[in-house]
Structure formats: structure tokens, C-alpha cells
Symmetry: D2
């Protein structure tokens, strides 16, 4: 068995990762650290793991060598200890934002502070298999992905791959998100009585995940608008762009089908009947799928491209496990078989 | 007392109208018709009115003369009986879509069928006081407003009024809506188990309310994208536009303040602290306010303008009562004093 | 105009009280204090009051004399300053738990600490008009009510009034509550991602509000079981008791109708058709009604009695305003006319 | 591979069953019938199965022989065709209520009509492994379980097994349920705008599932009170009973631990700290666990026993698959490994 450990396992991303790793046939979870909860059973924080695991949270200072080390700490921490972690494990997957951007100046621009380990940025591969599958197979260091960036990148991927976008027109991505994106800490606005029933556009533009879309899609004229809605898990990105002149629905179908055929976790959802005709995060809780849809206004070339994901799965821990599978040469879908529920 | 009646009072719009009229100091509700529920107490359908009213639903065929007649039927019905209704009341306010558009050809384009009473279209004033206050004061026939159109129109109003929009750039309005917009009939997708937890982009463009925005704002290059979210009452429109070169935040503040100062139900919500920094429909349930907010990306002139309303109030019945107040020469806010609740 | 002030106006109860008092025709709100938010506009904390009030939170130490003083602080504070407050106002209504129980030993039993002003306990009248209307008319000092106690007391009131309960059998009251009951502070379990979708029986018995039911209903063999559900505002108490032998449905109808006829805010909800056949807090948000229902199993005398209220209205601030109306000799319903919304 | 088919696969129970069977290592799904949807892909009705299965719904009249046949039709249908189904498969598991009660007179009493195949009632084993594991291992015909009955039976199981209940005192079980219990058809009260935010006690006593509790627990003096709350999946039963004199917390712990140790899907949840101290259906969506908790008031012997389940899993399809595993001699937990999600 391949041994794995998680640093920072008491947050939502860490908990989801632990759930996936405990169900993964090729790995054994050795340690899960938490400064706040060390000594407690992991199921006391992640109650879904009761009777599934008798692990206790470890002291972070007692981290032991392991085959694959997952880092699931809040942003800004991994970069300060990356040398130490690299001494403990030949392979590292960091879910935080610390190693997602390739350029230190870019990091400083979006995160407002100098990167503490800029020399490590080039060693990491951005952890989205739908873009970097080949590099991931050979990688030792893999970054996580921003959940909103992932929904945006995958919404745009078929259009960018097929070179269908008129890049001179601005792209506007409207993202609706559930409350788990705010993390297990929350703030005053995360209180149920304040957060329930909201439609709250908390960021009109300038969200940090924008940097990952610019980097990964190679587009520039783009903005992400963030709206919180009443849901726990899930992200829907609705991307507005302009297609190149002459682009037809047939071209779009071809582009989307190509992406869905290439990637096991990408599905095209575009039905003429039934309730579920378009991508919806509702049915993706716990699943690693990215559901894509699109509409084209042939009068003016306005394309509306949608991507729904579970922010804790495809937008965080699911993609991380998928990356591990690629790094280790295993089947890409291992441990990620859960299909999601309906109804829910 | 001024006598009023409601035709089609068992739907959500009709029920909300009845609630408002029962609490209005200047009117007496004479009849509320419902083909489906005639003979039943109104509180059996609208349970909030229990102990507030002993009215029963009347047979529509027994409608009597009245000072002001409200029509709250499904779309496509009022136009077939408008002569009859006009013989019963000198003043008519129709909440449906039948008399919102001024042009019969335009009606046919968006609604897919010929208008049954095209000669009446020019007699109606579009029932949004923030645009037509003066005409409404002299009007006998007033149309309702589309709830999504209202959120869109009011989001754009300060920008259009101050001539700040670069009309050569496309305008994209992303609208998030609650389930009451679907009406009391619903469909298979309205079932709680299917509709709860959704983020469902059910219309990428082409929504009929677009016609009201084009007509009322005088803009053309515009699209409305509709997304259903988990909420019962409420609409948030997030409008993306480009301002004219040289437009500053100061210009925007001036434009928004002017609109808020002129209209008793418009508020600007743009705070630096606290939980409620931006417009949110959550706190507007039952209130007639339209809350407006905005952000400007000074790098590229991208303006994000928001408008939150209660779809059944400012987006339907509240605006209708406001119109009645203007038509009758009463204080515009009469019967619309409820401020909304927090938390909720 | 009668002048009123609120001590501790930034919580949910204080905010709801402020909303009601601002809309009350006979009073002028002079001050609203908040240690945490002093200097801020009240609408920055209670966003529904924007454009309705330009009041700012005052420093508690600068409280001025007033006709009626409302205390809306967390439990355990009012009792330490009651002499000071009494020197500032001839009439005091305290929403907290400090003066609800008449017996100091009983207070210590349920609240776990000695009462700081036991000599004041006998000066206060328990602030539930449906039980103490006459005393309230002559009272200078009135306590608030526990929201769960209120739902329980009103569920039992018709049965107790008509002497229909077999007091030898245990009474079990199952109470389901929304998240606003937890207050604006909340705790880790109040985070939206944790609190959404819950059915959480957080207290099987021993809830402090039990003491108010024992005191006010004069029953002993009783328990309250508390379950949190996914809702912001609202309480439903489902009381299980045994009726005396020979009690019929007719007796129950008579008992319930008597209570509903006597009290303007009590309604009986027991329908044979329609959606809203039983009491439901859903439609009571913002309304001061207590909706009562009942079912009798004639085979064994098991009676199920239900009471739905809005915990912030009839369960707190609404009852407090109703008490003020009685104390001042005004119409009991003044300022409490809002009927609630449907749908919501 | 063992072949299985599902009759009536378009409902919520059928869909959940299909999800489980598609992920089960020992079976191959041959046919899924649906009169309404025949010819459609199963993923058009159960969107979570997209890219997981290319099955189409079959015509019920073209059902073929199979090793295990699951019946997932609405109540009242299977009993009319049981001979036919038995001719097609040596093993049948019927999720409906048709074969849950052993006594035809009892069936008629609770379901209001004569049973169409009373001679088959004795051939079926009640499909709850926690009660009938041994018989299930030898059974050919297995009934489903009522979800509310299951939550009630499992809440009482430790108390009944250990003979701790004072059977002379009435037992009151308060059950809170999500909307998926109403099925994919729904009614006017199932519309999202009406069903959201509810706390609706729709049945005070007399619910049909009571018959299964009386039968399986061997208790008589019992009532089930049903309250709908805002959740899609999940049931919480809170059972109130009286323990025999002298029963201590230690006795209860022993009784609960014994049940949890014996049954792989039973967990005891009774924590002193953390957010999840008691059983909650919230974290059980998709999982087959039954979480049990308890509290004892030592002053009066009042025990409050809780059981949380996912109504579509342990309360329906999950138990059905568990039964199949036992019937086939496989590991009881096969195909039921999903742990549930947190947060959700």
C-alpha cells in the first residue's frame, strides 16, 4: 500500500480528502494533522467518518515520512514549510493557493504579499488533469485548484481548445457558490440566520481565482463575479463570451463532445426534456464530475457556457485525488466512483 | 372609501395584492374572483389573511362595477376581456404581461401570438413609477411589470438617466430568482425535492421580460440570463455594462444618489462594513424597496450594477399599488410601509 | 408622543423591537444603545431599516430618561442594573429571562446562579397578554417571554383553561425551532454549512424555558424537547397530553374557540382542505399571531396540541409591544398589524 | 454475475436502488422498467447516473427472468402481480408496503382495503436486517421497510432488546421528515414555494407505518407524529418512552453498545463536544447508517431515544440491498460503502 498523510485535516477540504483517501483501494492513511484538534478522533470533526476510521488527529510537529503528502492548510502556510515537507515525502499535493501561480510577481499582485518560496513555483504542476494530464503523470509536486477557477476554466475549456472565442470581446463569468466555500471558520456573515436565503454578490470583480483562469486559459479580458446563494456544496459558473464569426451550434457540439470524450469526469448536459437539462451542482455533491452546458445566440455570437461542480470535490479534494492517481500511474478514476445523489 | 376588486385572486400575485389592499387605508376590497376557488374563504388559499378578512372568492362572471379594478390573471387572458372590464371600472391595473408592450408586432415577436386587443396597447401606461410617475398620475389604464424586467430596469436606470453607458458594448444581465416566480401552479421541476438546493440556469437568453427592458430603457444590445436559486421570494439582477470613457466612481455615486433621492422606494446599498454591504433580496420579503448597488472597474470601464427586489412586491403587486396611489393622487407610499424583516 | 428607548438594540430581539416601534403610531424612539455598535447607523446592523430611520446606536452609559424603557440585552445583565433603569423610566419591559420567574430559588435552580435582584421579581408581571392581560394593564414592570415557553404555554392554554388535561399523565412538548433563536452571536454549530439542513435534537429535556411553562400553566409533569430545523424564524410546539376521560372533539373545539375569540392574536387553524391545514410558523414571519391546532385520538385520549409562532414576534418583541399597548391603555394590536407573507 | 432487475425504476426509491446496484460488484443490472419513461435513458430521470449507465427504461410488459427482482412500484401494485413476478425470479425484494404486514386483517385495517394476495404475506420476511438477519439469509421473498417505521424501530431496538421499557406507559415517537419522502409525484403542498421553510405536523397519529412498529417491536401503546421540515433527504425519529424502575444510564449505554456492535450500519452518537453530538440525518445522505442516541431523565425515567437515517437508504433502498447481500450470502455491507458527506 502507498502511504499518505494530510497536513491540516480539520477543514472542509481536508475532511473531504480524508473521506476519499479512506475509501481508496491503493492507499493507507497514516497521519492527519490538526493543531486545533490533535488528540481527537477524526470523526468528532468529520462526523460522516464515524465507524469508518479510528484515526486521531496528530500533532503537526510529529509528521512522519510518507509516500504522498497532502497539504490542506489555509492559504499562506505551505510556502513557509515546503522544504520541510519535501524532506518527508517524494510527492506533495498542496490544496492551498500557495503554488498555483507560476510567476512570483503575479502571486504578489493577486495575493498582496511576496511569495516565501518563489523558487518552488516552477516545480509545481497546476493540479487540473483536464489541462495538465501529461505533466501530472510525471510530476512530484502538484498544486491544488481554486474551486471558482476550476468551474471557470472548465466552462471555457471546450471553447478555448477549439479556438472558438473572439478574444477581443470581454468575457464575463458569473459564479454562484454555496457556503462551504467559506470554510469551516466562517465569519459574521456565515451565521445561518444571515447566510440562509441569500443572493449576495460579494465580489463584482477582482477575485483571486481570476489569476488562475488567466494563467491556465491564456485569456486576459476576463472577470469573475461572485454571488453567494443558499446551498452548502456547489459552484455554477456561467461564462459569457463571444464566439468567432461563423461559429455554429455544430461547432460547439463538436468542441464539447471532444472534451467530454477525452476526460472521464467531464459530462455534457444539454437536454431537450426532463428536469435536469442544464448543468447543476445540486446533483454533484460528493461527485467528481464537471458538468458542462452551452447556449449560442446565433444572432450575435453570444455564447453562454456553464460548468457545475462540487467545490469540495472537483474544485478541491476530488481533483487532488485524481492528480495522485495520475502521479502514481493508477486509473484516474480510482476512489472517485461516487456518482452523486438524486434527489438531494 | 375607494372600492377595488381583484380578478384572479388565487395566484401568488393576486394574494400579495389582496394583502396590500386589505391593509390600505383608502380602499375597500369589494370582490376577489377565482374560478378554481370560488366560494372558499380567501384565507384558505392565502393563509396569512386568516382573521384579517372574511372575504370569499367570487365567481368571475359576477364581477360588479368598482372604482379600481386589478387584473391578476395568467398571461393572455386580460386582452380577451378588456372591453368588459373597462365597462365595469374607470381605472384598470393589469398585472399580467398583456399590456406591457406598446407595439403589437413586438408583442407577437416575444409572446409568439397575435395580440387580441392591439388598439388598447396605446391606452396603457407601463406601471413602473420610477420611469412613468408623471404619466401614471393621469392614467386610467396601467400595465403591470415583469419582475425580472423591473430588477433589470432599475439596475440600469441610474446609468441610463445619467447617460453613462457605452451603448456600443453588449449589456449582460444575470438574474437570480426564487421559486415564487414560477407561480402557484408550478411544474415537475417545481417540486421541493427537485427545486431545493438548485442553481439552475434555465434560460441563457431570450426571456420575454427582455422586451420590457429594451422598451423602457431604450437599449438594444442586451441579454437576460435567468438562474433559479433556493429562495422563495426575491430577484437579484446583476447587470454588466461598459461606461463611457472618463466615467468615474464619483459620477456613478452622483447618478445613483439622484435616483434614490427622487424615488421613495429606491435605496443605494454600498457599504464598507457589516454583513449587508450590497443589495440582497433576502431582507426585502414583503417590502416594496428596490435596493441598488454598483462597482466600477476603473481599468476597463466595466460596471457591475445590482438591483434586488421582492418579485411579488416591487416586481408585481407592490408596484401595482404604488401605481394606484399615483393614479388616485394619494401619497405614493400608502399601504406599502412594511420595511421587510431581519433576520429572515 | 410617548418616548421609548431600547437598551441592547443590536441583537435580533432588539432589532425586531426597533422595527415595530418605528412603525408604531403612538411612540417616538429616542435612543437605541449598543456597546458594540455605538456610533453606527442602526440600519448598518438591521439593514431592513435603511431609509426608514437615521438613528445611530447610542453609548449605553448615556441613556436618558424616557417614558417606556425596553431592555433587550443578553440574559443576566438587566438584573444588575435594574435600579438604574428604574430611575430613568417609570415603565420597563425587559425581554431577557431575568425577571420571568417569580421565585428566586426557582431562578437559581434553572439558571444556575443566584439572582442579583430578587426583591424585584415580585414587581414584574410575566409579559404574555393571553395569560396576564388584566395585570399588564396596571403594570409598571413587565418581563419578556421565552419563545419556546410561549409556544408551549399557548399550545396548552385552551386545554388548561377548560380543565381538560389529565394531570397525572406526563406532558411531552416537542419543539422545533429556527436558527434566529440562537441569536446574532451564534456558535460553531450556527455556521451555515453546519446549521443548514439540520434536524438536530439539541436538548432532550431540561431546557430553561420549561420553568416558565411550569410557572404559567401550573403544570408539573412536563418536558420540553428542542429540535433545530432549517428555518430562520419560527417555532412550532407540538404538545402531547392526555385529556380527562369523556373529553370529546366538541369539548376541544369549544375550548379552542373560546381562547381564539378572547385574544386578538390567537387563531385556530384546523382545516379539512388546502395546503395550510395546521399551524405553521412559515407564514408567520413578522406577524404576532399564535396559530393553534389540535387532534384527539378518541381511542386513548391522546391529544396533540400545536402552536406556531414567530419566535422574534409573539415569542419576544411582538409580545413586548403588545404588553406596552396594554400598559399604556392603547389598542392591544397597535403597531402589530402586519399579517405575514404567503408564499415565503 | 448475479442478474437483477428493477420494476418501477423511475421513482425516488427506484432511482436510489439503481444507483446502488450499478455500483455493486456482484450484480449486473439487466432491466429497469417504467411505464411513464420507457425508451428514455435512465439518466434523463436520474441525472446523477449520466455517464455511469447507458441503460434505458424498459416496457414493464417485457420483463425478463432474472436472479433477483426488485419491485419499486407505488403501494398497492405488487400484490396484484406477485405470481407473475415469482415466475420470473427465484428471489424478490419488494420495496412497497404490500408485503410488510404479516396479517391480512391488519393490512386491511391500516391500508383501508383487502389485500389481493393474502396467501403471500407469510412467505415474505420483513426486510430490516437489524431485526431479521437470520431469516433473511434463508429468505426468497423480502418486503421493504417503511422509512418512518425504520427510524422508529431502530430508535426503540436497544430498549426493547434489553427489555428496558415500561410497556404500561405510552410511547410517543415524533418524526421529522424531508420532502423526498413524498415521492417524485408530490402534491400541491410539495411545490417548492409552499414546502420550503415548513414545520408542518401533517399527521398527529394514525400514520400507516405505525403498523410496522407495532408488528416488529411488539409494542402496542405507541403513536407516531409526523412533521415535515425543510430538507430533501432524511428522517429523525425522537422516541419518548418510560424505562423500567431502576434503569440507569449505564444500562442504556450497555444496551446501545450491544446493538451497535452487532450491526455494521448502526452507530451510537452521543458526544460531549463538537457540533455533531446527536444523531442527525443531515450527514447521512446517501449512507446506509442508522445513527442512534439517547438521553435519560433519571428523575422520572423519561428516556428520549433518537434515530437518524436517510429515508431513501436505510429507510428504503439501502436496506433492500443489504437484504439482497444477506439472501445471497455476500458481505452485508457490499455496495453500501458510501459514508455520507460533511458538510452538506
Amino acid at each position: 500500500m502507498t502511504t499518505v498523510s494530510i497536513v491540516g485535516g480539520s477543514g472542509y477540504g481536508g475532511g473531504e480528502l480524508l473521506r476519499l483517501l479512506l475509501g481508496h483501494s491503493q492507499v493507507e492513511v497514516k497521519q492527519v494533522t490538526s493543531r486545533l484538534h490533535m488528540g481527537e478522533y477524526v470523526y468528532q470533526v468529520h462526523p460522516n467518518l464515524r465507524k469508518r476510521s479510528q484515526l486521531k488527529f496528530s500533532d503537526p510537529s510529529e509528521l512522519e515520512p510518507v509516500d504522498v503528502l497532502f497539504l490542506a492548510q489555509p492559504h499562506g502556510q505551505a510556502q513557509h514549510n515546503i522544504e520541510h515537507y519535501a524532506s518527508l515525502a517524494p510527492r506533495i499535493i498542496d490544496l492551498s493557493a500557495d503554488f498555483r501561480l507560476r510567476d512570483a510577481a503575479n502571486y504578489e499582485k493577486w495575493y498582496g504579499e511576496k511569495h516565501a518560496a518563489p523558487e518552488w513555483l516552477s516545480k509545481f504542476v497546476y493540479g487540473l488533469p483536464e489541462i495538465h494530464r501529461t505533466e501530472l503523470s510525471a510530476a512530484n509536486y502538484v498544486s491544488g485548484v481554486g474551486c471558482n477557477a476550476t468551474a471557470s476554466n472548465l466552462a471555457l475549456l471546450p471553447l478555448v481548445n477549439a479556438d472558438l472565442i473572439d478574444l477581443s470581446a470581454p468575457m464575463i463569468i458569473e459564479i454562484k457558490v454555496g457556503s462551504s466555500e467559506g470554510g469551516a471558520e466562517g465569519n459574521s456573515g456565515s451565521l445561518h440566520a444571515e447566510r440562509a436565503n441569500v443572493i449576495r454578490t460579494f465580489s463584482a470583480f477582482g477575485h483571486r481565482h481570476t489569476a488562475e483562469v488567466i494563467q491556465e486559459m491564456g485569456v486576459k479580458n476576463i472577470s469573475l463575479t461572485m454571488t453567494a446563494v443558499d446551498l452548502v456544496r456547489g459552484v455554477l459558473a456561467t461564462a459569457h463570451a463571444k464566439v468567432k464569426d461563423g461559429t455554429s451550434m455544430k461547432d460547439l457540439w463538436k468542441a464539447y463532445r471532444a472534451v467530454a470524450n477525452e476526460h472521464p469526469f467531464v459530462r455534457v448536459v444539454k437536454e431537450q426534456r426532463g428536469i435536469y437539462r442544464v448543468p447543476e451542482p445540486k446533483i454533484l455533491a460528493g461527485a467528481n464530475y464537471a458538468d458542462l452546458g452551452f447556449e449560442l445566440d446565433e444572432n450575435n455570437g453570444h455564447v453562454v457556457s456553464m460548468c457545475a461542480i462540487d467545490n469540495l470535490m472537483k474544485g478541491a479534494s476530488g481533483s487532488a485525488v485524481q492528480c495522485m492517481n495520475l502521479m502514481m500511474g493508477w486509473d484516474e478514476t480510482l476512489g472517485l466512483e461516487f456518482t452523486g445523489l438524486h434527489p438531494i
